[in-house]
Amino acid sequence: MTPCHFFIYIRIKLDIMNILVCISNVPDTTSKINFKEGNTAFDTQGVQFIINPNDEFGLTRAIWLQQKEGAKVTVVTVGDASCEPILRKCLAIGADQALRIDLQPQDGFEVAAQLAAICKKEHFDLIITGRESIDYNGGMVGGMLATLMDMPYVANCIQLDIASNEVGVQREIDGGKEVLNAKLPLVIGAQKGLVEEKDLIIPNMRGIMQARQKPLDVISPEEISPASKVLTFEKPSEKGPVKLVDADDIDGLIDLLENEAKVL
């Protein structure tokens, strides 16, 4: 490399947007949820794990930015070795590298604090989390991480457009949406709308082969205590059978809703 090339290399390096996508390993949406050890632990037997759907919408947007703007995309998860297949899948989808913080987290705070430790070592311009994970539904990692990093956070993010440092974002709110201006660095909570279902990337053979060569680094966790712990689990009680009403007996249905269920 000549000095001139080296200079160009550095320039490009500096201009590259550095994106971190935080991935949660969650049970497939069709999973039957069972518990073990006296209802104190989730029974993973026979359960397929997937990339948390909200995170996948975020990852897809990140890959779009990688392809259009040359951003670098790192995916990270806080979890034990059983999470590696979904990190490999993220790499096959197109992420450049993966990190695994080697810890089975107790709660969302622990995840956010471990992620913050990573983000304090390496600067990320854009940090993408999912709106919530579909297992514990905490909806807390993004907001906590942003606050720990003193960065702004946009929850329920349904649009993200980046032009140099200016960012146009939209947040879904009850009954509508909020249109915001932001700047990098920024943390968002991704959800459907950020990209469409049809934009999701199904890894092809080439992606899967390349993923094997991409770095997946395992990082030791920091010493951080969780803020809460789950003591026991419980399944909802079985509900009674449905009361069927004849299609011609609309009055009967209205009567049941009014006088029995008392919801009209």
């Binding site: 049970p27 949406t29 069709t30 949820i33 518990f35 759907p53 909200n54 709660d107 969302g108 705070f109 956010a112 579909i134 297992d135 539904n137 905490g138 909806g139 807390m140 993004g142 907001g143 906590m144 606050t147 720990l148 702004p152 956070y153 946009v154 349904i158 947040r171 879904e172 709110i173 009954g175 509508g176 949406k177 909020e178 249109v179 915001l180 201006n181 920024l186 459907k192 469409e196 279902e197 803020a227 809460s228 789950v230 003591l231 689990f233 419980e234 399944k235 909802p236 449905v242 009361k243 069927l244 009403v245 004849d246 299609a247 609309i250 209205i254 809703l257 269920a261 919801v263 009209l264």
Partner: protein
Amino acid sequence: MAVIVYIESENGSPKKAGLEVASYGRAIADAKGLPLVGVGFNVTQREDLNAYGVDTFYNMDTLGEVNFDVNRYSEAIAQVVEKEKASTVVVSSTSNGRYLGPIVAIKTNAAYLSNVVALPTTYEPVQVKRTCFTNKAFNETQSTKERTVLSLSSNSFGLHKKQSTVTFMDGTYPSLSSTLQVKSVEKVTDKVSIADADIVVSGGRGLKGPENWHLIEDLAEVLGAATACSKPVSDMGWRPHSEHVGQTGKPVASNLYIAIGVSGAIQHLAGINASKVKVVINTDPEAPFFKAADYGIVGDAFEVVPKLTEKLKARTQ
């Protein structure tokens, strides 16, 4: 020491979600023998605060700023929490409540527990029942911090009146600069939102196409209900994404959920399970929704729904 509740409002009056949080906070305050302190922004209507047992209310005048500002709101709440040395803070599970909760928790060095569906079973430490796996299960969670922020699931505790005489305190709206600026808010004003609705009418692929959605809309209108849809319906662009309910869409916790031409896939049911009463209308008696519903009609939506709408209309006249 006090129990703090964030009371959301609209046009100066507390919203229903805010009053449910007040009811819940009041019950905790009574159990612990503490006053109930509310925090809100531009609230002028006091009757509801008195009726739901708020003892002290910090009202922040945002000085003409009409938009929600996550940084300033969370800072304002955090300041009151510190000032009152509160160990329990309650927010709602609206989009703004769930946005603020984790941020306030970090700012005040608290644990954050979302999806709370019951009063704590113990207070020292706080232990409480929450939903998980998108309503497929519950868990009992214990806070390991001295302070806990709880986000209460909508419609899980209900409204409970208790008379009080509220003292209004003028809070100072913190001036924080942020790179995040709200440019505009686009709200559908002529319709009730899924989050606020007592009744939700939902349509699935069984309705065959977007041109048939008047069936759903007309029924929703007589009931004062919000409209919703299944995932494929929004994926195909028949309806906006904001109407997609389920595990990967919006959660529904209404009093009444009416599903029309929806098969009742596990991902759909997960998102709507917290609704109190479920009604299904479907041509297929084997549709899984019949196992999850309280009331059902095996029948063609195109015949049943217009009749139902007509009868309900006649009833209200």
